[in-house]
């Protein structure tokens, strides 16, 4: 078959890249080889546009066992316990088929985590949709939510936290990011680096079908009108088989039969086999006629590029084949030795004893293209909002408008579709700043949260990147956890566009600065470019997933008010930053100016002190102040708890709108028992932390002196009504 320009383009390869392939091979590739190059060299697998920038992120620390480069990141939480976690995008498949796209996204990230030897203990998600009034939004929303639940509920891993946002920038390109967190023994972690020649390469799991052929290249291209026709067979998730695969893998991992193991994710058999031997500087030979197939007459091309779900590739120690086979057969899963490792440093593909393709591993991995794409710095808006030019509105009305908006409405209707309690260790479910999961049979817990701020990142990528790391860090602090490390999913537009590439570079600079300062390293992540349609790119949306440690489970805390007549303290300074605030967005549709700056020194000092106060047991409830400002945070503490608040007017800042709705960073609200106040104030003063006493808790009403007084049950209803009317 002649390789025409059309074939090259269809594989998402540039002509320059094709020339390079010919040079690396010293000949023309055949169709199978083109397919393999396209799978390995596309953005999704090769990180060709992002690699040089990702290298700048801090990835090390005392707590880090394994940083980026493996299937997932690994951190140390003491006593031989390790936490393994990662986040991944499944944006494009979810737009085409929301239920299956989201479900297989969850399935995929779970495999990344249990392939390293962890039992998954929590799932999170970050989902972004277009405007609620856009004609596609409702069905995408419902499909994605039930897909996430459908997979997690069936496999029996609690879905405990996430975020759901609406913004018209995602009208034609939704975001579905799924994060999985697992627990392993520190001395029982499995890696993907192949070692040794002539070792058996084993295929386990589901059979291979024609699902998602070229899924990875689809994820690396912009959508256009024809995308719906070009789409490959949609991948259908099978959580039941994944459950069997999970149990079978964990059973095999009890012993030391495994040299290397990797899930078949994007680009299936191709990327899993190439990546394993590339890490071990080896070669691999596969007999493709042995691959278990679901359909008749599948070709080597289809087998190598299929993205059928629920499959793994394992390299076994000598003589362990029969032992391992028994385990997989017990769980009714396919187990086939399909090849062996070699010292040829080639990927050799045979089909019925005939060599169908042969490519140097290096050409696929290390010699994949690497781009230092052109980028430009964002022109930063000099505009500063003039509040006087905006219509004056009543504070209570403005609050109600925010609480009843799609973005701020209560997400119970989503989280009730997720089993949050299975596995019996969820001590804080969705709804607070972070979820808390106890380590099974231990007296310690982890806290997890995912966050993003696309508007902030759009207007000022550097500050946005920095802010989102801080917000995530703050969310963990607010439940009494020590933040340890993050994973990140970088959802951006087309990197060939200099402005978009600039957004990427600057967001990363912000993330880097915050992570370094807070000793909050990045241990895993994922980049999703080309989110957009026909030159309309989404807002830059880095999503940060953080994990923190609570060393004594008893000390857990959340945001719900616990008592009558406790003191309410606001930690951190309020300047009244309204640009890019919810107040302006929800009430006036104004999206202007810069996001609030994040002072890392204050962030750290305030956070560390709040952490200390919680650890000492001096805090009844705590909440970070984020979108919507002080007044929204206070309402959240009251809604759904039994108590309300009586808040004073500000003593310093005169403008009430700025005071109550400003989104200044680094702030927390704390509820403190009367008896503990002295101790708390002493500690705050000793550390030079800025704080204000702003009021008390009371029964029934959320009240601001002389400004508003509302029954908390009414607020709760307002906060819960959006979806019911949607």
């Amino acid at each position: 078959m002649e390789i025409t320009k059309k074939i090259i383009e269809k594989h998402g390869l540039k002509i320059e890249e094709y020339k390079n392939i010919k040079k690396l091979l010293n000949r023309d590739p055949n169709l199978l080889e083109i397919g393999i190059f396209s799978a390995m060299w596309n953005e999704h697998c090769s990180y060709k546009s992002s690699k040089i920038h990702l290298k700048k992120l801090p990835t090390k620390g005392k707590q880090v066992i394994q940083g980026p480069g493996e299937n997932a990141g690994v951190i140390d939480i003491g006593d031989n316990d390790a936490i393994i976690f990662k986040i991944e995008s499944h944006n494009h498949p979810s737009y085409i088929e929301p239920y299956q796209g989201a479900a297989t996204g969850v399935g995929g990230i779970l495999r990344d985590v249990f392939t390293m030897g962890a039992r998954p203990i929590a799932l999170l998600n970050s989902i972004h949709f277009g405007s609620p009034s856009h004609h596609k939004t409702k069905s995408l929303l419902n499909g994605v939510v039930s897909g996430i639940g459908g997979y997690g509920n069936c496999i029996g891993i609690p879905t405990v936290a996430g975020e759901t946002k609406f913004n018209e920038t995602y009208n034609e390109n939704i975001l579905v990011n799924a994060m999985a967190v697992g627990h392993a023994k520190k001395d029982k972690i499995f890696y993907s680096k192949a070692k040794g020649v002539n070792k058996s390469v084993v295929y386990v799991g589901s059979k291979t079908g024609r699902d998602g052929i070229h899924g990875a290249s689809m994820a690396s291209a912009e959508f256009n009108e024809n995308s719906e026709e070009k789409k490959p067979t949609v991948q259908v998730g099978d959580p039941f088989t994944e459950k069997l695969l999970l149990e079978a893998c964990l059973e095999l991992m009890k012993d030391d039969s495994i040299i290397a193991i990797q899930d078949m994710g994007a680009a299936g058999l191709t990327s899993s086999s190439v990546e394993m031997v590339s890490k071990g500087a080896l070669g691999i030979e596969l007999d493709l006629e042995k691959v278990p197939c679901r359909e008749e007459n599948m070709t080597p091309y289809e087998m190598m590029l299929s993205e059928s779900q629920e499959r793994m590739l394992i390299i076994l120690e000598d003589g362990k084949e029969e032992y391992a086979r028994k385990i997989f057969e017990k769980w009714d899963l396919d187990f086939v030795v399909i090849g062996k490792t070699t010292n040829s440093k080639n990927l050799t593909l045979k089909f019925n004893n005939k060599i169908e393709g042969q490519i140097p591993i290096d050409a696929l991995a290390n010699k994949a293209p690497l781009y230092d794409r052109k980028w430009v710095r964002k022109k930063i808006s000099k505009k500063k909002l003039d509040l006087r030019k905006i219509k004056k509105i009543n504070i209570e009305d403005a609050l109600i408008k925010i609480l009843s908006s799609p973005n701020h409405s209560n997400k119970n209707w989503i989280t009730e579709q997720f089993d949050q309690m299975v596995m019996g260790d969820t001590s804080q479910r969705s709804g607070s700043d972070a979820a808390i999961i106890r380590i099974h049979n231990k007296d310690k817990s982890i806290a997890v949260s995912v966050d993003s701020s696309a508007d902030y990142c759009k207007s000022h990528p550097f500050t946005g990147g920095k802010q989102i790391v801080c917000e995530n860090w703050r969310n963990l602090i607010a439940v009494g956890a020590k933040p340890l490390a993050i994973t990140n999913c970088l959802n951006f537009g087309n990197p060939e566009n200099q402005e978009i590439m600039g957004e990427f570079v600057e967001c990363l600079e912000g993330i880097k600065e915050a992570c370094e300062f807070l000793d909050y390293p990045v241990v895993s992540g994922n980049v999703s470019f080309y989110n957009g349609t026909n030159k309309k790119n989404i807002f830059p949306t880095p999503v940060i997933g953080g994990v923190g440690l609570i060393s004594k489970s008893k000390k857990k805390i959340n945001h719900k008010l616990k008592n009558e007549n406790s003191y309410i303290i606001l930690v951190g300074k309020t300047f009244g930053h309204l640009d890019q605030s919810c107040y302006l967005k929800e009430n006036f549709s104004i999206i202007e100016g810069n996001p609030p700056d994040t002072n890392l020194q204050n962030e750290k000092n305030n956070g560390e002190l709040v952490f200390k106060l919680i650890k000492l047991g001096l805090i009844r409830s705590a909440h970070d102040v984020s979108n919507g400002g002080l007044i929204v945070a206070l309402s959240e503490m009251a809604m759904g708890s039994e108590y309300g608040l009586k808040i004073d007017k500000p003593k310093k800042l005169q403008n009430l709108i700025e005071y109550f709705f400003g989104e200044d960073q680094g702030r927390y609200i704390l509820e403190i028992n009367k008896d503990d106040l002295n101790k708390v104030e002493k500690l705050l003063k000793a550390s030079n932390i800025y704080y204000e006493m702003i009021g008390f808790t009371q029964r029934k009403y959320f009240e601001i002196d002389g400004i508003m007084k509302t029954d908390i049950n009414d607020l709760f209803k307002i906060n819960n009504q959006w979806y019911n009317k949607y």
Binding site: S146, G149, G150, N153, C154, I155, G156, D238, P239, F240, T241, K243, L244, W331, D332, T415, E416, Q417, F418, D419, Q420, M421, V422, M423, G424, D425, T426, S427, R438, S553, K554, K556
Partner: protein
């Protein structure tokens, strides 16, 4: 007391129930579905989850497994059998309990803490509860909408075979407090000899104040005599 928890491919509350049983001092054993004999047990538990993915009808395929025949034998000779969630669905598929569990009325999976009224304390499963006690227990299911024919419903009512009903905080049993559309708010039922209990809510999730509450404890402690 000896207990056996039956584990099917796709069961996922098996560990949770084992933790609860052990905490309540049961000597527990996990029984893989391919086993053909059951160890002597005072209590057999069929746990929640998605046995065989619940792909055909929830509980249908598990209801055909070889171990189930042993469970039926044991049940018929008086052994205590508890089916929770998917376990309840399996018990109806085997015919050990009558009726069936249809899709929730809103067609959505529901996970939340609901109020439950104890309808009958004259059973080995509920003896330690107070009459009409209101419990807060977690539910997590797609198919918990209990349905049965008129004749059986009459029998359930006449013979006092309804164990739990969904209610509100005050104990009022009404449509509003029915999460899934169950007939007469039924959340759990006994067989006529009351040695078998099937229920949709998860008592094993309510045994620890750090995680939730302890409203499920008395179900297990009732069984210990």
């Amino acid at each position: 007391m000896k207990s056996s928890v039956i584990v099917f491919p796709g069961s996922n509350c098996d560990r949770d129930i084992a933790v609860a049983l052990e905490k309540m001092q049961f000597k527990n054993q996990m029984i893989w579905h391919k086993e053909t004999t059951l160890p002597k047990s005072d209590l057999i538990v069929i746990p929640g989850g998605f046995s065989y993915g619940d792909y055909l009808r929830s509980g249908a395929i598990a209801g055909k497994s070889s171990i189930i025949e042993e469970v039926i034998k044991a049940a018929n000779s008086g052994c205590l059998v508890l089916g929770i969630c998917n376990g309840f669905q399996i018990l109806t598929e085997t015919g050990l309990l009558n009726g069936t569990l249809l899709r929730n009325k809103n067609l959505k999976f529901i996970n939340k803490d609901i109020n439950l009224k104890v309808m009958n304390i004259n059973s080995k499963f509920t003896a330690k509860y107070k009459a009409n006690q209101i419990l807060k227990i977690n539910i997590a299911h797609n198919e918990g909408n209990y349905f049965t024919d008129r004749k059986h419903l009459d029998e359930l009512n006449k013979e006092n075979l309804i164990a739990f009903k969904y209610c509100d905080e005050k104990g009022i049993i009404a449509n509003k407090s029915n999460p899934n559309g169950s007939l007469e708010n039924i959340a759990g039922i006994f067989n006529s000899k009351k040695n078998i209990l099937g229920m949709m809510p998860h008592p094993e999730r309510m045994i620890d104040n750090l995680i939730s509450n302890t409203d499920g404890v008395n179900l297990f402690s009732s069984l210990i005599n």
